[in-house]
């Protein structure tokens, strides 16, 4: 019985070490270095083509006129703002459960681009709202929960920065990242739960209510901005790892080790 328990414990430990092997910073950097620039360049090219397609080739919409072209920026930004927090929540869970050494770095790297795309989503939505709804802003479920997401990002950036500066446990920020994920289904279902000026989802699992003339440039823009997001996350991870490594090296030099 004891032997079986020890064997199980040993297997779990070796599995953990094996998983941590993938989190080896040197191994991560070997993968991240050749990927960062291509992700950014291909993402910028695809997003540029999609935005030009949306601006100059897509037709004006019957009811919304030319303002419909804002969709090619607004929707990818919303998707990345929400997806970014899901990545923070997933990394936080991995950190809390498996103590994966890179999980905290991933979450911190995602926070800034997530906040930027949430801000872009709010700004472009507000600009779109003026001609479409006759108002820049309304305190309804969708807009307010998206604004709450932006504040959650600010809170996470401040908290994780303070935790890293003061040398406190990164699990504090991980708990915040996990709890903040409660807001994601609220954002998603807000247009169904409450009366809103915002339209309900146009794209659901395997179905789309968007005409192909708008759908294809929208999908291309989403792919392009997602690649940019991936490239920025890798760049931020490399920067955070380099800062940690430089600090460790300087500390070792200072202690004469």
């Amino acid at each position: 019985m004891l032997r079986a328990s020890c064997a199980a414990k040993g297997a779990a430990q070796s599995e953990r070490y094996e998983m941590h092997g993938f989190a080896n910073p040197a191994r991560f950097l070997r993968i991240a270095r050749p990927l960062t620039a291509p992700l950014l360049l291909v993402g910028l090219a695809l997003a540029g083509i999609a935005l030009a397609w949306g601006l100059f080739c897509a037709p004006a919409e019957r009811l919304q006129g030319d303002t419909v072209r804002i969709i090619f920026l607004h929707v990818p930004a919303a998707w990345l703002g929400m997806g970014g927090w899901m990545a923070i929540a997933a990394s936080s869970l991995v950190e809390l459960v498996w103590r994966h050494p890179l999980a905290n770095v991933v979450a911190r790297a995602v926070a800034v681009p997530g906040a930027v795309f949430t801000a872009i989503c709010l700004a472009t939505g507000s600009i779109w709202g003026r001609p479409a709804w006759g108002t820049w802003w309304v305190w309804d479920g969708r807009l307010t929960s998206m604004l709450v997401l932006l504040f959650l990002y600010f809170g996470y950036i401040a908290l994780s920065g303070a935790v890293s500066r003061e040398g406190a446990s990164s699990r504090i920020a991980a708990v915040f990242g996990l709890v903040g994920a409660v807001n994601i289904p609220i954002i998603h279902y807000s247009v169904l739960w409450w009366n809103s000026l915002h339209q309900p989802p146009s794209i659901t699992m395997g179905q789309s209510a968007i005409a192909p003339a708008f759908l294809w440039p929208l999908l291309l823009a989403t792919l392009g901005f997602s690649l940019i997001f991936g490239g920025v996350v890798l760049a931020r991870m490399r920067a955070l790892l380099a800062e940690i490594q430089a600090e460790a090296r300087l500390r070792r030099k200072a202690t004469g080790a």
């Binding site: 960062t36 950014l40 910028l44 997003a47 935005l51 601006l55 004006a60 006129g65 030319d66 303002t67 072209r69 804002i70 920026l73 607004h74 930004a77 800034v112 681009p113 930027v116 801000a119 872009i120 700004a123 472009t124 600009i127 779109w128 003026r130 001609p131 006759g134 901005f225 940019i228 490239g231 920025v232 760049a235 931020r236 490399r238 920067a239 955070l240 380099a242 800062e243 490594q245 430089a246 090296r249 300087l250 030099k253």
Partner: protein
């Protein structure tokens, strides 16, 4: 009463916010990464930190 709004003004403003925000994010992340890696290499004694 219906307001006569020029749609292209709003489209241009939204694209300016989105494109400038994205390019600023990419440039800032790239430069911060290069700066941090130079600093690390200097700490290792592989190069000099540049300002």
């Amino acid at each position: 009463m219906r307001e006569a709004l020029d749609h292209w003004t709003f489209v241009t403003a939204a694209y300016a916010v989105g494109v400038i925000g994205t390019l600023a994010l990419v440039a800032w992340s790239w430069l911060a990464m290069r700066r941090a890696e130079r600093k690390r290499d200097a700490a290792r004694g592989e190069g000099k930190p540049r300002r």
